[in-house]
Symmetry: C2
Subunit: 424 residues, 2 copies
């Protein structure tokens, strides 16, 4: 099926065939959901040993009674776990509560209200802005939107953000004070940044506003599928470029143990951590150390964590294969869409022909298959070309996913044909 | 010992006697700590059944899989627990993470950045201010100080804040946009607000700035010692006065189960909760529901929680009695200081003669007894009369507390005499 070269009568014929198929599917009254980057119950079950693991012994190896107040930086053994995940020194890590999003929010708040490391608070600037590689993660964009921080789209490529565009923006605007990055198995494209991208990002601190910070949301640091993918270290790269203050790294165990009941981590230079801690100490006496101890006991050695992640991969692999195989079968030799084949993470990003994404999502919804709202992967919810759809295969059981993908594929075909016929 | 009526030679004699005693104590090289409002290990042990209580069953009664993402308002059964503690309807409660301080911070942030219920954000005012009943809780004051919100001292009385002073301030300044209250077993004075105070507080919303909010930090809602003390309901009082939006109530299980590993609660009107949720949803997907479920299972019925608190009281009672007995014995018929006799909570507040508190704290420190820093119970750390000292008897074992109180008493006497002699 190639839309661009199809004659009008061919398109008409396709439209009526596809419409008939679509009508039949609608009669099935499906109720399926591909919106949520949530672990499935099987995955969550892998960590059910967490509750009860302390066996009455609430003392950490360093003697801390985790049941009592104190310790803004988190428990030493939890910081070590974060350091293993992010591959950074333990003393540069804070271990926090159940959400890296919360840590990112507070980091943005620190920059906005008080400034990092003695730099001008962003709120005192005329028009502070973040660069947003698109498509990206909606919750990053929501933080900026809430605080009135501007957002400038830069395209994602197969190796990371378009670095020419990034550098050009920063050279042209001294009030660009941040960039959102999901450097490994990017949300939603699944791309892992290559060495050149990481190196060029590490050099930004040499000419950007001194308050500029890279928000390195390494949400899928250890979330590889079949093989381990290597992400070049941003810390090492910034150290080589003498820009160690320009980056803040984040990670969590949300998709490692229990989503929303795990640990979050931030890693940064001493100066950045000092700024962050100054803000956070007005807000909290410290994180839940009991849960930090649970996680530390549960994994013990980092090799156990790697083995644990392989069990996740065994559950996730068939789901990602299902998505790929359906897309491949339907669209391999067509001009109906493009997609990445991620080696890990939680999403598959699909680009329709221009102007079709919202229509696909609506058609799927009407057929009982929920997809992430159109535009969600762009700042302010506006996909300028109306092309991107984020598919989240992790949560539904495999059979449901397969059915949902059949509906998706049909909706893409139907919307594409209708668009070409001027029917949308 | 009465300083005011003592002749100079009598004071001299006391000074040399007390100095000699003090020198002897210093030789003991004590290392004791009365600073921390922390539960003791015995108290924490009461809740050691929390870890493992789920027994592999992570589903809440309403079917929620607590291991997965979602639910900004918290688990239904956790909200019910908060509603029981605060004696408010469940639908007006959000159950959150491990810290009510964090909830208060976010509530202040909501007022400051965005405004509650459509009112002007405080940051857009010329000089927004909170009323701070003093002495009070230093962490409340730190939130205001960090955000540059002004603070105006109002005196605490034996029935709550001096309401004449509160009303006068609010009538005289339309930019007073909040008041900090610890209404039951107030930190540090131990006072519980009486009905008249609660009623007058509830009326403030009738003439204060429409964005004015009472921050009702009910940290010791169920932390009675020998007998239950009744705090008149602020919610009922505001409803009677048609000022339901003027109050936000907070509570936590920090001094109920494990400090720093419990649950926090906020209760407010629908409009206030909507404002708070709007801010919080950019920051978090939701709280740790697994830990919420643990707490809900641990207590089950509210009567079990009451029984649990009685066990705390049995541990705390002898400690509060020790403090009272030492103070009584030393200062009953003197003019050296005044103090409250709290019926619950975590603190005993002692007022020295004017200008002596910092000296007492320094003398005690040099003798190996750590007290809360001078001024800590006042905004900006400035006790205008240098009188207030907060004693926290909960954490040390009884024998250590007794020793520490002996040192304290001696230091009060010595500092008082030296002050009168012009030696400070």
């Amino acid at each position: 099926m190639r839309i661009d070269s199809a004659r009008s009568d061919q398109l008409q014929e396709w439209e009526s065939e596809l419409s008939a198929q679509y009508q039949r599917i609608c009669q099935h009254e499906l109720s399926l959901d591909l919106t949520r980057g949530k672990p499935s119950a099987d995955q969550l079950h892998l960590s059910d040993g967490l509750d009860g693991i302390l066996n009455g012994d609430y003392r950490a190896a360093d003697g801390t009674d985790t049941r009592n107040y104190g310790g803004l930086e988190g428990l030493q053994c939890a910081r070590e776990l974060g350091a293993d995940i992010l591959q950074v020194p333990t003393e540069e890590v804070m271990a926090a509560g159940n959400s890296s999003l919360t840590l990112m929010y507070h980091a943005v708040l620190t920059g906005y209200l008080f400034g990092f490391a003695g730099n001008t608070p962003w709120r005192e600037m005329k028009s502070p802005k973040f660069l947003c590689p698109v498509p990206g993660y909606d919750r990053h964009f929501s933080i900026c939107e809430q605080l009135g921080i501007g957002m400038v789209n830069v395209p994602m490529t197969a190796t990371g953000p378009d670095m020419d565009a990034v550098e050009e923006q920063i050279r042209g605007d001294s009030e660009i004070i941040g960039i959102w990055c999901v450097p490994k198995f990017s949300n939603p494209t699944g791309v892992t940044y290559d060495k050149e991208t990481v190196d060029r990002l590490a050099q930004l601190g040499q000419f950007a506003n001194p308050g500029f910070r890279i928000f390195w949301d390494n949400a899928y640091a250890i979330h590889d599928l079949e093989h381990q993918v290597n992400l070049p270290g941003i810390r090492e790269a910034t150290h080589e470029n003498d820009t160690g203050d320009s980056v803040l790294q984040f990670a969590s165990t949300s998709k490692v143990t229990h989503a929303g009941a795990g640990l979050a981590f931030v890693s940064a230079s001493e100066a950045n951590l000092a700024s962050l801690k100054k803000q956070m100490q007005a807000m909290t006496i410290g994180p839940d150390k009991v849960n930090q101890l649970r996680h530390s006991r549960f994994f013990g050695e980092f090799t156990l964590l790697r083995e644990h992640m392989q069990k996740h991969a065994q559950i996730l692999n068939p789901k990602f294969e299902c998505v790929q195989s359906q897309l491949e079968k339907a669209f391999a030799d067509t001009d109906l869409g493009t997609w990445e084949e991620p080696k890990g993470g939680y999403f598959v990003s699909f680009n329709t022909r221009p102007g079709c994404a919202a229509a696909v999502i609506q058609l799927a919804a009407d057929a009982g298959v929920k997809l992430t709202p159109a535009g969600a992967t762009f700042p302010y919810g506006k996909d300028p070309e109306d092309r991107n759809i984020r598919i989240a295969p992790s949560f539904p059981p495999l059979e449901e996913l397969d059915t949902a993908m059949s509906v998706f594929v049909l909706c893409v075909k139907l919307a594409s044909v209708r668009k070409q016929l001027g029917m949308l």
